[in-house]
């Protein structure tokens, strides 16, 4: 369950589990989190729940709300975000996400569920009304299962956000350098999941960047790509450091380098 940890100038004060749909913060005593300090507005900010997400919303406070040192009106909270009001800090901790550092801030991959539009309008989304207790158990089970396997599978975050898989096993990025012809010396960084090489209509191959390395695959043309003087075949072929690739008469060297 998500919670907020309140501290003043870095000294721990209190902890607030986020159970309610809305948690208010301000100088007035009626607030859920009451901060008695003149720098805090009467109704300063609120934490609003939306499904599994929490937002912090500044309620037009006089001195504003900072999240990770940047002023914000509304912010979708991620594990370890620090919200600041004057000298107070509220740290957002999502325990589900913090079980595994790898998973911190990663998108959840729970099973798809239906929520009612009516629930949306009242700003209190309720997962699938018909879900039975066995449903819920199954969902929780699959989620905890995912936590375990997160350690053995590559992190999806990089792929989902930057559209490239995480850096290959060696922590290096592949490049190809053209060895002959008019483009001799030209380099290409293979930082995308898929890079197309060759001439359309004549011979085309793609180099795919995968968690277990780089692979070249023939996609178009009569002739298959040649690697180190030997045909690479029609299937994906694993590339090794300093392999020489030949495509449509152009020779190029594949190598791994640091960023």
């Amino acid at each position: 369950m998500a919670k907020l940890i309140l501290s003043l100038d870095g000294a721990f004060l209190s902890e607030y589990p986020l159970i309610e749909e809305r948690t208010s913060i301000g100088r007035r005593p009626t607030n859920d989190i009451h901060l008695d300090n003149l720098a805090i507005s009467g109704n300063h900010a609120a934490i609003v729940k939306a499904g599994n997400d929490f937002y912090v919303e500044d309620l037009n406070s006089t001195n504003g709300t900072l999240v990770n040192s940047a002023a914000t009106k509304k912010h979708l909270l991620q594990h370890d975000d620090v919200i600041e009001f004057g000298k107070f800090q509220l740290k957002y901790v999502d325990e589900a996400a913090s079980n595994d550092d790898e998973a911190a801030g990663l998108p959840a991959f729970e099973k798809t569920m239906m929520i009612r539009p009516s629930a949306l309008q009242s700003n209190t989304p309720q997962p699938l009304v018909k879900s039975t207790s066995s449903d819920m158990q199954e969902t929780e089970h699959s989620f905890s299962g995912q936590q375990v396997s997160d350690q053995s599978v590559p992190s999806p975050a990089d792929a989902a956000t930057t559209a490239t898989p995480s850096v290959s096993a060696a922590g290096k990025v592949g490049r190809v350098q053209v060895l002959n012809g008019s483009n001799s010396g030209r380099e290409l960084v293979l930082n995308k999941a898929l890079t197309t090489l060759g001439k359309a209509g004549i011979q085309v191959a793609v180099i795919t960047k995968r968690p277990n390395g780089y692979f070249i695959t023939h996609v178009e043309g009569q002739i298959l790509p040649i690697v180190n003087g030997v045909s690479a075949g029609a299937q994906a072929y694993a590339l090794n450091d300093h392999d020489v690739i030949e495509l449509a008469g152009v020779k190029m060297e594949f190598y791994l380098a640091n960023h």
Binding site: A50, G51, N52, D53, Y55, K74, L76, Q78, G105, L106, P107, A108, F109, E110, K111, T112, M113, M114, I115, R116, P117, L120, P125, P127, L128, K130, S131, T132, S134, D135, E138, S142, G145, Q146, S149, V153, P154, S155, P156, A159, A160, T161, T162, A163, T164, P165, K192, A193, L194, T196, V204, V206, T208, R210, P211, T217, V219, E220
Partner: protein, 285 residues
């Protein structure tokens, strides 16, 4: 149903369309709740991603795909064959045929879920495309998507019925923030959950060379649009390779869910001035 005359009168869309479909269980789930089908005679592609119930998600998606495919195939063959009796009955537009088939599938799933406790609460997303007369009718419910690649640019032509999409539309979060949301799994519309369902149906002009992608969220949650685009551009003439590469990318990125893709490439124009078709054009306007 079909006689020689009907064969002459009707264009078989398999000459105009290249269709490849592929479904994969992924790396973490123990069964595949996606269902896919295609029929290149009538130009239909359909994909459903089942959910809910005690392992009954695949029951919902199977019912959806099988019943809609069967109903559309029969209705369209009938109207094409020019049977007097059938023709009278099927002066419905293709759009109406789709809506009716989806409504019937919704009832079928809902009834099963009411009568069998282990199926209680099951439902499914749906995305389908029907190609006719150089047009595409694209219908969807939930977060299964359809994309179009034209002139090397990939465009998503369906808008998810999901909490996340609602939040983006309402300006609550940006698409960038959405990638980190924990709400990816919440859909706001599904087939078979309620007695009634609303299908979102849109019509698009089709051009020769277009590539259409139907996919479940097992692909789009893990593979960015940019990577999908470059994969389809790398070799749009080898659809099977493209489909396999997309599935492989999703599995390389974690394979969190079942992954299904259907690719349709438009090889030739399929203009067909059938009288029954003109009837439903009038209906659409």
């Amino acid at each position: 149903m079909k006689n020689d005359e009907s064969q002459m009168a009707n264009m078989n869309l398999s000459d105009a369309l290249d269709i490849v479909r592929l479904t994969d269980i992924g790396l973490l789930r123990d069964h595949n709740e996606d269902a896919i089908a295609s029929d290149d005679d009538i130009g239909l592609v359909i994909l459903a991603d089942g959910m809910g119930g005690y392992k009954a998600g695949e029951v919902a998606s199977e019912i959806a795909v099988l019943s809609i495919t069967a109903e559309l195939k029969e209705a369209i063959s009938d109207s094409q064959s020019g049977h007097a009796a059938a023709a009278l009955d099927t002066l419905r537009s293709e759009a109406q045929l789709i809506v009716d088939a989806v409504t019937n599938a919704n009832s079928a799933i809902y009834n099963v879920s009411q009568n069998y406790p282990h199926c209680a609460g099951m439902g499914t997303t749906l995305v389908l495309g029907l190609f006719a007369n150089n047009k595409l009718l694209a219908g969807h419910i939930g977060d299964s998507r359809m994309y179009r690649l034209r002139n090397q640019f990939l465009v998503q032509i369906t808008e998810d019925h999901s909490l996340l999409q609602e939040q983006i539309k309402a300006g609550l979060i940006t698409p960038e923030q959405a990638k980190f949301s924990a709400n990816k799994n919440l859909v706001t519309r599904a087939l078979g959950i309620d007695p009634d369902v609303e299908l979102e149906l849109n019509e698009f002009d089709v051009e020769v060379g277009d590539v259409y992608l139907l996919c479940s969220d097992g692909l789009t949650d893990l593979v960015g649009d940019e990577d999908i685009q470059s994969t389809l551009n790398a070799n749009s003439s080898n659809l099977l390779w493209a489909a396999e590469t997309l599935v492989q990318m999703a599995n390389d990125n974690g394979g969190m869910d079942n992954i299904s893709v259907i690719l349709v490439k438009i090889k030739n124009s399929f203009d067909c001035k059938c009288s029954w078709y003109d009837n439903f054009v009038g209906w659409l306007k």
